[in-house]
């Protein structure tokens, strides 16, 4: 359950009060950064994506009609910005996990499984990565995911399911390597 958005903060931010804007975005920054880093594919790109989202939200807050909608509205800026950075970066750049550092010898199997899952995830398309991240990391409801991605709400479930299947297939392919 999200805390209600103080309307006067939105009004102040619309008038150009940066402090008010900072208060508004503060509760969302940590999760926004987490999501952006996963979707964009790297910590640096993720940070850049959130900064771009902050800038676009700041410039566009005048168009926000319903103050209570601020959290979802800001998340939409973050999602789009992260996707933009991900597309710029391109897919297929796999973030390698340092097995030696990550696992003691008795957990080597698990460390390998984790690495394969990471590789499989990184090989997914930006759209699939975003869908799975919004669903499984941000835990957003289908209606909000649909709004973020500009897709009908009725198709969110099937798209997430299809993305999971592709991830499974990619993971199994990694296992066979």
């Amino acid at each position: 359950m999200e805390a209600p958005v103080p309307e006067e903060l939105v009004v102040a931010a619309k008038r150009g009060d940066r402090e008010a804007f900072s208060y508004l975005v503060s509760p969302h920054l940590e999760t926004a950064l987490r999501v952006a880093r996963v979707v964009a594919g790297s910590p640096d790109d993720g940070t850049d994506a959130v900064q771009d989202a902050l800038l676009s939200a700041w410039q566009g807050i005048g168009s926000l009609r319903e103050p209570a909608a601020f959290p979802a509205w800001f998340r939409r800026h973050v999602t789009r910005s992260a996707m933009k950075h991900a597309k710029r970066r391109g897919r297929g750049r796999v973030t390698e996990l340092d097995i030696e550092a990550a696992a003691p010898s008795d957990a080597l199997d698990r460390a390998f499984a984790v690495r394969e899952l990471d590789r499989a995830f990184d090989r997914l398309s930006t759209d699939d990565r975003t869908l799975l991240t919004l669903r499984h990391l941000w835990d957003l409801p289908g209606a909000e995911i649909a709004r973020h991605l500009g897709i009908p709400e009725g198709t969110v479930k099937s798209r997430v399911h299809a993305a999971m299947n592709r991830l499974r297939a990619a993971y199994e392919a990694e296992e066979r390597r």
Binding site: R18, E30, R37, Q51, R76, M83, K84, R147, G150
Partner: protein, 227 residues
């Protein structure tokens, strides 16, 4: 691993997305030090447009005065200024092809369906992609099938969207956004028959003026049922 695949993914996403309090604090600082927003009056594009308008206005006022100055031009004799009265030319634009005006405020637009039903479209455009919207009288036909739409040009930076709805009073939601490929997404939330069935409907037409010109091919129209 595949037995609890979703849980494994969730754990990995959490583990991979670790952020330090310092990173978050840096973003908070970034938010507090964003550049001040410039008002419309102070934007360079607006100032340029204002200057251009002033030059045009000055030319419109000055040129006729210049031509009426004795000694200027080929005929020094003063011309009669009174012009025989003639009927004023009628506007050439057909009422069926309205030019959307940026004066039209966004928000709730009442459509003009053939049945006369009260159909209001509430427009949510958080990114300011639209500058105006206008309802256009619709024909008593079904130009497209349910869950489909026709998008055509309606001016240099305007599109005409035709879709189908029930011939009854209704509140429709329209969400305007851009997708990751840069396409303009128009997402309508309205009543409709179940996807596999058929239902009697009528055209609904909306002309949208955009902040930037767009190829109708780059417009994606999607539909959903109200929650």
């Amino acid at each position: 691993m595949t037995d609890n695949f979703e849980r494994a993914l969730q754990e990995r996403l959490l583990a991979r997305s670790q952020v330090s309090p310092r990173d978050v604090e840096a973003l908070r600082l970034f938010a507090r030090t964003l550049p001040a927003r410039r008002s419309l009056w102070r934007r360079p594009a607006f100032q340029w447009a204002l200057s251009a308008a002033a030059v045009v206005l000055a030319a419109v006022i000055a040129l006729p005065l210049l031509f009426r100055t004795p000694g200027f031009g080929t005929n020094p004799s003063p011309q009669p200024t009174a012009v025989p009265s003639q009927p004023a030319p009628s506007p050439s634009a057909s009422p069926l092809v309205p030019v959307p005006s940026s004066q039209v405020p966004l928000g709730i637009i009442r459509l003009a369906p053939a049945s006369g039903s009260v159909v209001n479209v509430s427009i949510d455009d958080p990114d300011g992609l639209l500058t105006g919207a206008l309802a256009e009288p619709a024909a008593p036909t079904m130009s497209v099938r349910w869950f489909d739409a026709l998008v055509g040009e309606a001016g240099p930076s305007a599109i005409r969207v035709t879709w189908v709805g029930f011939a009854r009073d209704e509140e429709v939601q329209l969400d305007v956004s851009r997708d990751a490929d840069g396409k303009l997404v128009l997402h309508f939330v309205q009543q409709a028959p179940p996807p596999a069935s058929d239902g009697e409907g009528e055209d609904r037409v909306l002309v949208l003026e955009l902040a930037a010109p767009i190829d109708p091919a780059n417009v994606k129209v999607t539909f959903d049922y109200p929650a």
